[in-house]
Amino acid sequence: MEIGGILSFLASFAIMAGIYAIFSLGLNVHWGYMGLLNFGIAGFFAIGAYTSALITTPKPTGVLADYVTQAIGLNQPFLVGVMGAAIASGLLALLIGLLTLRLRAGYLAISTIGIAETIRIFFNNEAWLANGPEGLVGLPKPLHGLVPPQYYNFLYLAIVLAFLALIYIAVEKGIRSPWGRVLRAIREDEVMASANGKDVFLFKLQSLVVGAMIMGIAGALYAHFSAAIQPGLFTPMFGTFIIWTMLTVGGTGNNKGAVLGAFLVWALWSWSTYFILKVVPPGFETRAPHIRFILIGLVLVIVLLRRPRGIIGEERYVSRF
C-alpha cells in the first residue's frame, strides 16, 4: 500500500511534468528555433483546455442544467477533443500572427500577454459560454473503463508520454528538415534570410501556428487529467512563466533540454511546496506557497545571467538533406 501510494504520487507528478514538457516543446518551436516571444502561453493553454472540454462533454440536461451553463457540448471522443484543441489554438495563433508578426519582436510579446489576459477574463465573465468562474467539471477520462480507478493515473501517464514522444519526434524531424533550417536562419539573421528569398513573415507565422497547436494539445491533456477546469487556473505564473523557466533552464533551442527542464522545474515547484509547508510557522500557510514565485523568478534570472544556454544548450545541427 505504501509503495502503491508513492508510485501513484510519482505517476501524477510525471503526468504534469510530461504535459509541461509538451508546452516546453511548443515554446521551443516559438522561441528556441524562431526567436518569437510568446508571453501568452496561458492563452493557448486555456483555449486548448476549454475547446477539448466543450467538445467532449455532453450539454448539461435536467437538474444539472440549472447549475452548469455551456454554449456547446458535443459529447465527442477524447481524440476529437484533442484535435479540436490543436485547431482552435492554431487559429488563435494565426490571428495574433497576422496582427503582430510584421512588427518588432516586443510587440508580439505584449500582444500575447494581452490576449492571454483577455481570454482569462472572457471565460470568467461570460458564464453562458463555459460556466464562468466555476468552470467545467467532470470532463471525461479517456479509456477509464480499462483499468480500476486506483490505477488510472498509470494509464493516463502512458497516454501523456505517447503524446510527448510523438510531438518530440515530430519537432525533431521538422527542425532538422530544410524548413527548420530556414527557421533558424531567420532567427539568426532576418535580413540575410529574406535576401535569400525566404518569406520571413510566412515562416514566422508557420512557426507561431505550429507551436500554438502543440500548446493546444497540451492544454487538452491537462483538462482531461484534472477533469475540472476554471479560468483562475490559467494565470500568467502557472500558465506561462513557469514554462519559460523550464525551457530556459533545460536549454533553449534543444528539445531534450525542453523536456529535461520541464521535469526539473516541475519537481522544484511541486516538491518545494511540501518542504515549505513543513517549515513555515502556523498562520503563515496562505502566504508560504508564494515563496515559489520568488524561487522560480530567481532561478530564471540566475540562469539567464550565469548560464544563458541552459543545462544542455543548443546543439550544432547538420542537415541530412
Binding site: 526567436g35 516571444l37 508571453f39 496582427l99 503582430t100 512588427l103 519582436a105 516586443g106 510587440y107 510579446a109 505584449i110 500582444s111 500577454i113 494581452g114 490576449i115 489576459e117 483577455t118 477574463i121 472572457f122 470568467n124 465573465n125 500568467p236 505564473m237 512563466f241 519559460w244 523557466t245 530556459t248 496562505t286 502566504r287 508560504a288 508564494h290 515563496i291 515559489r292 514565485f293 520568488i294 524561487l295 522560480i296 523568478g297 530567481l298 532561478v299 530564471l300 534570472v301 539567464l304 545571467l305 544563458p308
Partner: protein, 300 residues
Amino acid sequence: MPELIVYGIVLGSIIALGTVGLTLIWSILDLFNCAHGDQMTMGAYVALLVATLFSGAGFLQGKVGPFSFSWGLLVAVIPAVLASIGLAILIDRWVYRPLRQWGATSIVGFIASIGIAFALRGLVYVLWGPDFHFYFTGVRRMLFLPLGIKVRPDEIFILVVAWTMVALIYLFLAKTKMGKALRALADSPELARVVGISTERMTVWVWAIAGTLIAIAGILYGIQTQLRPEMGWIFLLPLFAAVILGGQGSITGALVGGLVMGIAQQVSTAWLLPTYKPAVAFMIMVLVLLFRPQGIFGRR
C-alpha cells in the same frame, strides 16, 4: 458619463505617472520592463509598511485636511520613493547592466524582467499576504460637483499630486543639462553617444525618475482603491498600451496615452463589466498596432 470621464482622468493620471518611466526605460535602455507594474506594487506596500509603523507608534495619526489618509501616510511617501529608487538601481546593477555589457539582446532583458516581476510579486505575497489592504478605514467623504459628478477630495489630491510630479519631471527634462541629455538619448541613442553622452552614467537617472514616479503612482492608486498583490500586474497592460499609443520615447505621447487609456477604461464600464478594463486597454493597443504602429507622437 461626465462622471466616468472624470474617474477616467484620475485613473489616466496614475497611468501617466507609470508610462513616463516606462517609455524612458524602453527608449534609453532598450528594455521592455515587465517588472514595472510590480515595482509599483512594491512602492505602495512599502508606504503601507511605514504608515502602519507610524500608526502603531501612535505617531502622525491625524487626517490630512479633508482627505481620508493620515499625515503618517504622507510622510511615508518619502521612504517608499527612496526604497523604490534603490530597488530599481539595485536590480539594474545586478541584472540589466551585466546583460547590457555582454551585449545580450534586449529580448534577454525582457525575459529577465518577467522573472523579476514574479519574484517581486512573490515577495509581496509572502510579506503581506494575499488579502486586500487599505491605507485607511472608515467612510470616505464625497464632494458634489455640477453635472451630477461625485468625487472624493482624495481624487482631487491624486490629480494635483500626479500632475505636479509630471510638471516637475517635465521641467527637469526641459531645463536641466541632465534632462536634455536624457531626452537626447531617448531620441537617438547613437547620436547622443556620438556627442559624448554616456548611457551607463545616465541609467541611474533613468531608474531614479522611473522609480520615483512608479512608487507615487502605486501609492496614489492605493489611496483611490486598495492594495493587493496583483495591482501592478493589472496595470502593466494599460501601461504598455499607453506607451505604444503615445509613441516610443515621447514623453508627451506617454502622458496623452496614459490619459486616453484611463478614460477609455473607465468609460467602457458603462457597457462592459469592470473586469474587462485590461482587455479594453489591450483592444486599443491592437488597433494602434494595426493602424499606426509608431504611435501618435512617434516617428518610426
